[in-house]
Symmetry: C2
């Protein structure tokens, strides 16, 4: 296999052309203040003319660190994380830091392996989803000298920094909303029971148990990834098991939309016969017919804050808050607007 090395312009070439030493060029790039205005001008001109770009591998090797900020998400196809990634990207945009994604596919083992791979590259920082890292992963991270931001959840004991919200509280609020709207036989539709999903189920259980309305028959879950079609299937399953169910809390919006479609196929009126509440508040929820109630989460904002926090920390501006809860909001829409005389 041949080298991919082409017409490599090195720092030495620049130095020679500019009539200075390689070190001065190196400094001109990283600490321009410590180089005379004259040299700086010369060097910059030569760099432009020659099209010099530093070799990141050489930089990493010599400096013992990189400008890479690793990001570990459990999925690249899940819209939730797509939004988070956008936020992370946006905030990293005009900085000198470079974002690199890794996909753990919801597997703690793959996550551990990704962390190893990243740490081997001596990243400046690591953004990692959730708080359920394996003990080995936590050890690796603690022993590394790189900064860490956990995202999408919240806890009292973050590894380092954290930006997220409480899934259990989100689910509690949604469930309370359904009760408040007069629903009494409330079910739960859940797909892919990752840790966050499980916490939502936990919150749902809490509230229903307190209200004396809990019925395990109304909990329908599947390990498959959530889709709209699956929402319809789960809804059908629930209705066959517990036909008197009058409302559902779906652990995400895909399922909620699928459930709505299933109700339409069965001639069930939403919200009169069936109340529906989703989670995440994707934009389509607002324009469904009827519009679907959901728990809005601030996914892109979480990405932005996390990256800003990371960059601040890396650039020596230690953030005031290193544990941020961005919360959630129950967006009440027609799909849970139960008529007084219903049921």
């Amino acid at each position: 296999m041949k080298n991919n090395r082409n017409k490599t312009v090195t720092i030495a070439d620049v130095a020679r052309e500019a009539g200075v030493s390689a070190m001065t060029v190196s400094r001109a790039l990283r600490e321009p203040d410590r180089v005379s205005a004259k040299s700086l001008k010369q060097i910059r001109a030569v760099i432009d003319r020659l099209g010099y770009v530093p070799d990141p591998a050489a930089q990493a090797l010599a400096a013992g660190r990189t400008n890479v900020i690793g990001v570990i998400v459990p999925s690249v196809t899940n819209n939730v994380f797509a939004d988070v990634m956008r936020g992370l990207y946006d905030a990293a945009g005009n900085t000198r830091w470079q974002v690199q994604f890794g996909n753990s596919r919801y597997s703690p083992l793959e996550e551990e392996s990704l962390v190893r791979t990243f740490l081997n590259q001596r990243p400046a920082g690591l953004v990692i989803s959730g708080i359920d890292q394996s003990e080995e992963t936590r050890k690796l991270l603690r022993e590394s000298s790189c900064r860490i931001v956990q995202i999408m959840e919240t806890t009292d004991r973050p590894l380092d920094m954290l930006v997220g919200f409480s899934h259990i509280e989100g689910a509690r609020a949604a469930t309370r909303h359904l009760i408040g709207r007069g629903y009494r036989h409330i079910g739960f539709l859940g797909a892919r029971l990752d840790p966050r999903t499980q916490r939502r189920l936990e919150g749902f259980r809490d509230v229903l148990q307190d209200a004396g309305m809990m019925d395990e028959n109304r909990i329908v879950t599947t390990p498959q990834p959530s889709t709209v079609t699956l929402g319809g299937l789960l809804m059908a399953d629930l209705l066959s098991r517990a036909p008197d169910t009058d409302a559902i809390f779906c652990n995400n919006d895909d399922l909620a939309l699928g459930a709505l479609f299933e109700c339409q196929r069965r001639g069930l009126s939403v919200p009169a016969d069936m109340g529906i509440c989703g989670f995440n508040d994707f934009e389509m929820m607002a324009s469904a017919v009827p519009p679907i109630t959901s728990v809005r989460t601030h996914r892109q904002e979480i990405g932005k804050r996390a990256m800003r926090m990371m960059v601040d920390a890396l650039e020596g501006r230690e953030p005031d808050e290193t544990l941020v809860d961005l919360g959630f909001e129950v967006i009440a829409r027609q799909s849970t607007n139960r008529p007084r005389n219903a049921g």
Copy 2:
């Protein structure tokens, strides 16, 4: 800023412990056949015991190349590319090649800058979306010695290898389908007019002009990214401009779903009063009420094929086909099932 260098186990450590030279360890890792069975066993034991992992930066610097396959997509939030990325990931999974994503945000300039960044890392290969690279980008790519796979479109003159399908033909087929179903006043809803979208519009125009049914008034587009909500707005816009429109081709499925919701709000029957056809065939199309006709594209498969092709080429197994058209299928559903007596 301190080093991120920790307890680094180097190849020299392994060599010492195994009683061989560093070169032999290096060979044991890359060309085990050229190392004696005895040394190999020793070395592997020591590697395990010490937990040695090669430093990628040092490898890149010394070897003049990396095992990185760069992937440039125009969006990470667009479901289309999320699916492609999944395919790429899947196919790269058990190889020695590492995938790295870059997001050009639909900007040829950002794409060019990404290409430069990637090429600076001496990637083994580059997967790049579309065929509309800037002249400068094309030049950079041609001058580089790395392999290239263009994806998601097709052309006679690929830069190197290519896996995709024809957007213009997809749109033509969809439009013919609508005509075949008896619709006569067909409109087009389009968002974010990227090159692929524009080709779909072109195909739409072709067919309608040939059929003598073209009416520019029925083309409604916006530069905004497509959403379900936007589909509803565009549909409303179209109906106010051309109230006698009896069918629409949407340049993607989000818009189609939004258009369906808008019809529901207006009491328009789909498919009797309005035929709706989407593009991409996301899974939700099948479970909408009524199910929505769409043009199925093989996004994940494109990713898989592209990565397999790349890996084969990199490992010296030059692929038989380097220009693959994976086609598309019009999936006819109830949303375009126009009753005989309608209109």
